[in-house]
């Protein structure tokens, strides 16, 4: 009997400033599974959606970067908790998106959850590991602390729709940055579902802004945007990388270059992705009575 029930199909929208708008352009594009069968229509974000997302990310920056590291750690851990509760759903979406076997999908989802946990634990260690009391030759106390770079535009990996995405977004957040993410172009659905998790965990609106659509269309706008401080080119089309880097040079953005081929995201990361989006601030003060 239940076989005859028509399922309620989900509408996949963008995630900007804590809300789920459609693209202002009204455009959408069909998303298929690995075998080419239709899965859903995804919003096809425009340059104006990208612009709005940058505004939202900038607005959220003060609060997120100013939160205590302990608080950010708790929020990121909360994301892991929420994801854990929706393991099955994500496994199904990853299976559909990436065409991997169910067991493989499950291990990718588990790794994604664990990655949030790993980065959640980093928030309040970074200053100790990357900062320093500088033993300068004079009567000064000098210390250096890592600070978030600002608004990061992230071109998410194209192949790994969830684990890859989490592996690039979580370090950006752990450092205190906010971001505009362009999800995998052909596998965007787990990214939007992840956005639903972020929206219902304690991540403040605007801290992560998720765009779906054509990476090659959106990337140049983000790369040249004057209020974007850094660019993660992980999922950039190879043919576009040099152009994007040139555009980024216009405002001296920090650029994280793409790997030659997408890495095995199951490997435990190092802190390179954290460091890539952190600045070092050095403070001096005289020591005297």
């Amino acid at each position: 009997m239940s076989d005859t029930r028509v399922t309620v199909a989900k509408t996949y929208k963008l995630y900007v400033g804590g809300a789920f708008p459609r693209s202002e352009s009204g455009r959408s594009y069909p998303v298929t599974d690995a075998k080419g069968a239709f899965l859903a229509n995804a919003a096809q974000a425009s340059r104006k959606d990208a612009r709005d997302a940058v505004v939202a990310a900038r607005k959220a920056f003060t609060g997120w970067s100013g939160a205590t590291a302990y608080n950010r750690g708790q929020v990121l851990y909360r994301v892991a908790e929420m994801l854990e509760g929706r393991r099955e759903q994500f496994a199904a979406e990853v299976t559909a998106s990436e065409g991997v076997a169910a067991r493989r999908a499950q291990s990718l989802v588990d790794a994604a959850i664990d990655r949030w946990v790993w980065y959640a634990g980093w928030t309040d260690k970074l200053a100790a590991v990357l900062g320093a009391a500088n033993p300068v030759a004079g009567p000064y106390f000098s210390f250096s602390v890592p600070e978030p770079t600002g608004v990061v535009a992230v071109l998410a990996p194209q192949a790994s729709s969830l684990l890859g995405l989490v592996s690039v977004v979580a370090p950006v957040l752990a450092g205190g940055n906010t971001c505009v993410v362009v999800a995998s172009q052909s596998r965007p659905l787990p990214a939007i579902t992840l956005s639903e998790v972020l929206a219902t965990s304690d991540v403040p609106g605007g801290v992560v802004n998720m765009l779906t659509g054509r990476t090659a269309e959106l990337a140049p706008w983000l790369a040249a945007h004057g209020d974007v401080n850094a660019l993660d080119l992980c999922g950039a089309p190879a043919s576009q990388v040099a152009d994007l880097e040139r555009a980024a040079a216009g405002t001296v953005k920090r650029v994280s270059r793409p790997p030659v081929t997408e890495p095995d995201w199951l490997r435990v990361p190092d802190i390179g992705r954290l460091r890539a989006f952190l600045e070092t601030k050095t403070v001096w003060h005289p020591i005297g009575v």
Binding site: R275, T280, K281, H285
Partner: protein, 477 residues
């Protein structure tokens, strides 16, 4: 009233061992360049100091090849403990030849001998000493147990701290196991070539350090050379952007240390006399040719008049003149071009309605000099509040609340340095965290140390120099 004129107290220029001509340093030898030689002049007098050979693209290629060979055959494979001993040697030799280097630097650059003697040269030596110690301890630096060098680094440095910038670039590169090709600035090539001579005296293996004098075209050719693994540049934001753009898609690692427009924020509870010193040191140190110069003074309205009066009185005591005179506080502007740029920005300040005050100090009648100048009544919209003047010109703005101070201080695409003056501890920490700058000096200004990372936010560049953080620029991590 009594007038006490200090008699001239010039350092002897003979100490500089100035030679009629200098040659580039490639593969351990001083050789002629195949491009047109340049003449480097003394900006305090306009006289030609020496002829310096410059590099052609073929010379750039030769130098990069030499650096590659040295990297592959000797330096890259050498145990860190051995590399360290070379760097320690260089540090010591800089100290031994400190007086010669200081006089030569002042001759070629125009900076006061007091600064080249007390700041540039000792700090350059300290950079080598500091980084020498890292060479065999890189595994403890937080980049993994056995971080690897990148290979060959192309380094381009500016004219404002010629020797010190060479040290900032070469010391960490060598400590991490890289070899380098360094291009000093067109107007100030001499001390880098003496540093090359020191490398030779220290018996540094040939090709580990190569020095190619020349103008911007040599730098452009160097940073675009396809066989580099790393490019490091200190200079203007404009050129930094060109380099970042040129390196797009190459995968070559890049660090940039660019311009700035630092705010020096003075609260009403500041130690005023020391704030005046800090402001003076912030903008008139090295004639204001400092990327991290405190060129925008943001002062609380309630103490603005008192502070400005003290500031003007203090600036009036600055002695502008012969860089070799031990009593000179402000030396020569490095070049005619730079002087013209300063004059044009100062003219824009007057045109835009800011109030100009210039020290009544006498100026020498030859050479390039500019009297210390303060603009008050400056608003954020004026060019003198936004553009890097790179000269002894201070723009004064006022604020009423800490929020306004932060908003004005951060209202710039730059983010290299900032200053804050207040005796309230909690306010210092709040300001330090809110000011968007790579270096924040609280109740002091323009302090540098090899152990303290230095570098910018935003359009002031990326990457750090100094400290543990500075090693990242020269490691494959």
């Amino acid at each position: 009233m009594t007038v006490w004129e200090y008699a001239p107290a010039p350092e002897s220029r003979d100490i500089a061992n100035l030679k009629a001509s200098y040659r580039m340093f490639v593969d351990g030898q001083f050789v002629d360049g195949t491009a047109e030689p340049l003449k480097t002049i003394n900006p305090a007098t306009g006289e030609v100091l020496a002829e310096v050979s410059t590099a052609s693209t073929a010379d750039v290629d030769k130098a990069v090849k030499a650096a590659r060979r040295a990297y592959e055959r000797t330096w890259g494979k050498m145990p860190g403990a051995e590399r360290a001993k070379y760097l320690f040697r260089i540090a010591r030799m800089i100290a031994e030849r400190a007086r010669e280097l200081a006089v030569l630097e002042s001759l070629d650059n125009g900076k006061p001998i007091r600064e080249s003697r007390d700041v540039d040269v000792p700090t350059a030596s300290a950079h080598f000493f500091y980084h020498a110690g890292w060479a065999d301890k890189l595994g403890y630096a937080g980049y993994g147990p056995d971080p690897k060098p990148l290979g060959v680094a192309g380094q381009v440095i500016p004219w404002n701290f010629p020797l010190l910038m060479a040290a900032w670039k070469i010391a960490p590169a060598l400590a991490c196991g890289n070899t380098v090709v360094l291009k000093p600035a067109e107007t100030t090539p001499l001390t880098a070539l003496v540093l090359a001579d020191i490398c030779q005296q220290a018996d540094l293996p040939p090709g580990v350090v190569n020095v190619l004098p020349g103008a911007g075209d040599v730098g452009a050719a160097l940073v675009r050379h396809p066989d580099l693994d790393k490019v490091a540049f200190t200079g203007s934001t404009e050129v930094g952007k060109q380099i970042q753009s040129a390196l797009a898609g190459t995968g070559r690692k890049l660090t940039l240390e660019l311009g700035g427009k630092a705010a020096n924020v003075v609260f009403d509870d500041a130690p005023l006399d020391q704030a005046v010193e800090g402001i003076v040191n912030g903008i008139f140190f090295n004639q204001g040719h400092v990327c991290c110069a405190g060129s925008r003074l943001l002062v609380a309205e309630s103490v603005a008049d008192e502070l400005l009066a003290k500031l003007r009185a203090r600036i009036t005591t600055l002695r502008v003149g012969d860089p070799l005179d031990k009593n000179t506080d402000v030396g020569a502007i490095n070049s005619a071009d730079q002087l013209a740029k300063i004059q044009s920005l100062v003219a824009s300040g007057e045109d835009e309605g800011a109030d100009r005050w210039t020290s009544p100090c006498p100026l020498p009648d030859k050479g390039f000099f500019f009297a210390p100048t303060v603009f008050s009544g400056v608003s954020q919209a004026m060019r003198i509040a936004r553009e890097e003047i790179f000269g002894p010109v201070l723009s004064v703005l006022t604020f009423r609340t800490p929020d306004e101070a932060v908003a004005k201080a951060n209202n710039t695409p730059y983010g290299l340095s900032a200053g804050v003056w207040t005796e309230k501890g909690s306010r210092i920490l709040a300001m330090a965290s809110r000011l968007r700058a790579g270096v924040v000096w609280a109740n002091t200004f323009n302090r540098f140390d090899p152990a303290a990372p230095f570098g910018g936010y935003q359009e002031s560049g990326f990457g750090r120099e100094g400290g543990r953080a500075g090693l990242e620029a020269y490691l494959d991590v």
